[in-house]
Symmetry: C3
Subunit: 200 residues, 3 copies
């Protein structure tokens, strides 16, 4: 699980950077930026933990998540211009992040004995609701409610995880395959400009 | 409890339709519409469950609620125009919904041993905070903060439930009477254009 | 603890007044004002309680908090003009309030066995997130994300509490010293017009 734990921390770091950059655009001060970084990075998993009754919530028990977020804020503060040049790298790690957050969310929900349907929902919530909270706190309409295929990629990746996890494949591989599905779908959607239909 | 369970599912269905229609007005995509439908339908009860420590929250344990919400989204998607012609029917079921959600919220809070005052609050939260979350996620000021008598009807209906539930009347009747009070007050308020005073 | 309990209730009262006044500015009705008063007064502590798993949340177990909030709404409704003349008194009690809420938040988080870093965060959340919820429900960008030193005063006061609480000073004094630090820092910041830097 070492690689997975590392990816989880990197995902947290990248999400926190995205929160800090959103705060900078809104001209928030450092405190506001810290709140936004924090909420973007762990907000989704926090909502999941609260809903399934897994309290105190996850990041309270492992300070490495806080340290990653603190680092992300500092890096954003001192190297903002450099980060903006790394858009492709950021996109990659953000997508790995949502894929991993989905899978870990599904996994921890299943562990409480809840049904796979609920686990799939909670996995997607873990991945995308940090961004929803970020947008609500910035007084914006949540981006993912009208954006390209984003949550959908999580839903499909989570579904793949649920379907293949009992096939005897080593767990790390199950996770990597599910994340790869998320990355594949999202990359394709962005490249082809795909998006979900609207209600007329 | 069979009729009451059925009404609960119908209330969930109608609330989910109202969430989907709000999403359509905001030009959200299907994912955004699903989130809004979901939050409108079960958000109030979820907040109640989280606050009183009833986790995993209610709808996670009975998939019929999710199925109703899924149905509501499909129906809204394919029959939006027809629904808009059914405004009176929607209003009726919405009002039955808030009445029932209030009563069930009061009931489940009392069951945890909390005081009737808190139960009354939590009943009203169950009924109206789904709509508050819907408005917050749509980046709107919550409608019920300046609308006609709506939460007030829930408060009075919940109070009636608390007062008469130990008088020896069969429980189903206690519930029907309380819901009837909610329907009566709200209908009267809408017809007479009544609303709460403001703070000057 | 009698004086501290009294201060806690006064802090709740003052926060509820600030919520009611925000509602009046937004032209909410009495119900909206009650929600905003309530959320401003106990929202921060509620988020803390939910995150650390302390449910049912605190104010549900002691109705005096609700009574204070009810009083605050009545007072705001009937004496709004007088309150606005009391700006300095309100500022003082608001600052005592955030100081005390911080300390009590740190204390109750430490009591669950969580680490001091998390306790410090949860203390600050207790003090300032009621205001964040008030602003989100009013469809405003949270004021403290771009305002003067406010949360920072809480963080430093909370840190002082954590550092000195095991030095053998009587607990009441530890609390008073920590609150004094919050008051001192915030007053200084307001007088000198200090604020946190932004991310460029």
């Amino acid at each position: 699980m070492n690689l997975i734990y590392t990816l989880d921390l990197i995902g947290t770091f990248v999400f926190a950077i995205s929160g800090t950059l959103a705060a900078a655009e809104k001209r928030f001060d450092i405190f506001g930026a810290a709140v936004l970084a924090f909420v973007t990075a762990v907000g989704g998993g926090t909502i999941r933990d609260v809903l399934i009754g897994n309290t105190p919530v996850g990041w309270m028990k492992d300070l490495n998540y806080l340290i990653c977020i603190g680092l992300a804020i500092s890096v954003s503060y001192y190297f903002r211009k450099h980060i903006q040049r790394l858009a492709k790298t950021m996109f990659l790690f953000d997508t790995i992040g949502i894929g991993l957050f989905t899978v870990l969310g599904v996994k921890s929900t299943l562990a409480t004995g809840l049904s796979p349907v609920i686990a799939l929902m909670m996995g997607t919530v873990s991945a995308v609701f940090g961004g929803v909270l970020r947008d609500v706190l910035s007084n914006e309409v949540p981006l993912i409610f009208r954006k390209e295929i984003y949550a959908t990629a999580c839903l499909i990746g989570g579904l793949v995880y649920i379907l293949i996890r009992k096939m005897g494949i080593p767990e790390d591989w199950v996770i990597f395959i599910s994340i790869a599905v998320v990355i594949g779908i999202r990359s394709l959607a962005v490249r082809k400009g795909l998006s979900l239909p609207r209600i007329k």
